[in-house]
């Protein structure tokens, strides 16, 4: 009960704190009035330090993910040693520094690194295919091509590929693991619903994802999350199998050595811990992923304003996007975090704050208004 959620990003904060420890936003209207907080908020609107803070937050979150993975690995290894190693059964208690656990944790860390590297090398064009986007030529959509090229010039990167999604919904996404090879996708509804300034702001936002290398982080993070989910699945099986094997062995050992060793109660505790970690690890991992994603949206908005030097364009584009209620069928759970606004509108915003990939649009508009003021 000693927690309060941040109104902007949904992260839990200590009661009595004035600014959110995750996104740096004010936690209440009165807190925002205090001079120290005001200064903090002002500093947050400075792009360079915002980008810096964002990078730090991302590094911290990736380390956190690795820690979650390592913990999961250790607990699995520890359980395996308990049930499979003869030596472990000679011990007086189930509490010991498990060598197998350390190896399993290291193995999982190594696996994460290898897996992430592979994903970074291979997986970016898949996204385009998953969303059903089609590359359009300059002749077909000259204005869109011009706007993308203008923003590429402003950002000082090569022009990304231009893709179009044939749907009335208003949305946009960017992909690409490096600034040299990237793509921007826009829906038909967005192209037709926005004026040139607003379109430029949206393209600037996507360009922001590209120059800030958000896709690289997103890929790293989602790969880690996927891996943790997979391993925790495997852990469930271990719980099942070892639970049975452990019970059998505990019975045997109990008979043979007169009730010495971990015994049934100890085995139960170990399995319970494995059970808990396997259940919680993927949930925590998912929460971390969503927090990274929300941070990146704020930064991309700010980058867009830096590129276009026009906060009003981004504000009115976001306003139009928030008013547009057309659902978008081209997105799925795997690609939702790529889009400028969450493609799933039916999720009630308050209920989904912790799990949301995007900050609420009002919060984004509020921050941009701060920039202009």
């Amino acid at each position: 009960m000693a927690r309060q959620p941040c109104p902007e990003c949904g992260a839990d904060n200590r009661v009595g704190a004035t600014t959110c420890r995750l996104c740096g936003g004010a936690l209440s209207a009165e807190a925002a009035q205090r001079p120290a907080v005001r200064e903090k908020l002002l500093r947050r609107t400075d792009f360079v330090s915002a980008a810096h803070a964002n990078r730090q937050a991302t590094t911290r979150l990736i380390l956190l993910l690795l820690a979650i993975g390592a913990t999961l690995g250790y607990v699995i290894g520890w359980n395996m040693e308990l049930f499979l190693s003869e030596q472990a059964w000679e011990r007086d208690s189930i509490w010991f520094l498990s060598e197998w656990g350390v190896w399993a944790a290291l193995l999982l860390l190594g696996l994460s690194l290898v897996w992430t590297t592979i994903a970074m090398k291979a997986g970016d064009r898949i996204v385009l295919r998953m969303t059903g986007a089609r590359e359009v030529s300059r002749e077909e959509e000259p204005v869109l091509h011009n706007v993308v090229e203008e923003m590429a010039i402003a950002a000082g990167i090569p022009k990304p590929g231009v893709f179009l999604l044939e749907t009335d919904a208003m949305n946009a996404f960017a992909t690409g693991l490096s600034a040299r090879r990237s793509a921007i996708g826009i829906t038909r509804g967005l192209l037709e619903g926005l004026n040139r300034d607003e379109l430029q702001a949206v393209v600037g936002h996507e360009m922001g994802h590209i120059v800030n290398l958000d896709m690289r982080y997103a890929t790293a993070v989602s790969t880690l999350v996927g891996l943790i989910a997979l391993v925790s699945d495997a852990a469930w099986r271990i719980v099942y199998v070892s639970g049975r094997a452990g019970a059998g062995r505990a019975g045997r050992v109990g008979r043979g050595s007169g009730g010495r060793g971990g015994g049934n109660a100890g085995v139960l505790v170990a399995v319970l811990i494995l059970f808990l970690v396997a259940a919680l690890a993927p949930v925590f991992a998912k929460l971390v992923q969503m927090a990274v994603s929300r941070q990146r949206e704020f930064l991309a908005d700010a980058t867009s304003v830096r590129l276009t030097r026009n906060a009003q364009g981004m504000i009115s584009a976001l306003e139009k996007l928030s008013k547009s209620a057309k659902p978008f069928s081209g997105a799925n759970r795997a690609t939702q975090h790529l889009f400028i606004v969450n493609p799933f509108k039916h999720f009630p915003e308050k209920a989904s704050r912790l799990m949301a990939t995007h900050p609420p649009l009002e919060a984004r508009i509020r921050r941009l208004t701060n920039l202009g003021a």
């Binding site: 203008e150 923003m151 010039i153 402003a154 040139r196 590129l307």
Partner: protein, 187 residues
């Protein structure tokens, strides 16, 4: 004695590595600035190339505005003459061109047929985009200059910069009257 030597060597190697990384960063920043400078030229050239098409397309519609058209053509040839000499040299000529174009666009308002023409609309979009590109390439140039100047000025990279003769660059300054050039609107 031997341990001391090893530590000393390690420190020297570390120091050299640090200096090399700073030097490389300065080189990267310097090239970014140069590239930014060239980008402005590229966009100005693009603008020069588009104008004859525009004049050709509107000529038939605007037979009474020969004077304005002639002014645009002349302003263009003055601007073309400064091509390749760097944006600084062409600043005045480009300003004249912006002014002449602005006048032409204002006059085009009087010709609804002309504005409805598909060709003209496309050209207007290209010109509007070119104006934006010129502005954005100057903006990017200034951003690059800022990044380089910060590196040249701040410690410890200023020592390396001084050692290898990296200097601060000038920002691209826009004169006040050019800021007043009307923006081409398509809406």
């Amino acid at each position: 004695m031997e341990l001391g030597t090893i530590i000393f060597l390690l420190i020297i190697v570390g120091l050299i590595g640090y200096v090399v990384s700073i030097y490389n960063r300065l080189v990267r920043l310097r090239n970014q600035v140069r590239n930014g400078w060239r980008q402005i030229d590229v966009q100005l050239k693009r603008r020069h190339d588009l104008i004859p098409n525009l004049v050709e397309t509107v000529k038939d519609y605007m037979s009474y505005e020969q004077d304005t058209l002639r002014q645009v053509v002349e302003a263009r040839s003055r601007a073309v003459a400064t091509e390749g000499k760097g944006p600084e040299a062409s600043m005045a000529a480009e300003q004249g061109l912006s002014g002449a174009l602005g006048k032409l666009f204002a006059l085009m308002e009087n010709y609804p047929d002309l504005k409805a023409s598909q060709n003209v609309q496309q050209l207007m979009e290209e010109l509007a985009s070119t104006e934006n590109r010129i502005a954005f390439s100057r903006q990017h140039y200034n951003d690059s200059v800022m990044a380089k100047n910060v590196a040249v000025e701040s410690f410890p990279s200023n020592i390396v910069a001084g050692l290898f003769g990296f200097r601060q660059d000038q920002y691209f300054e826009v004169e006040t009257h050019e800021r007043a050039v009307p923006k081409v609107s398509l809406r």
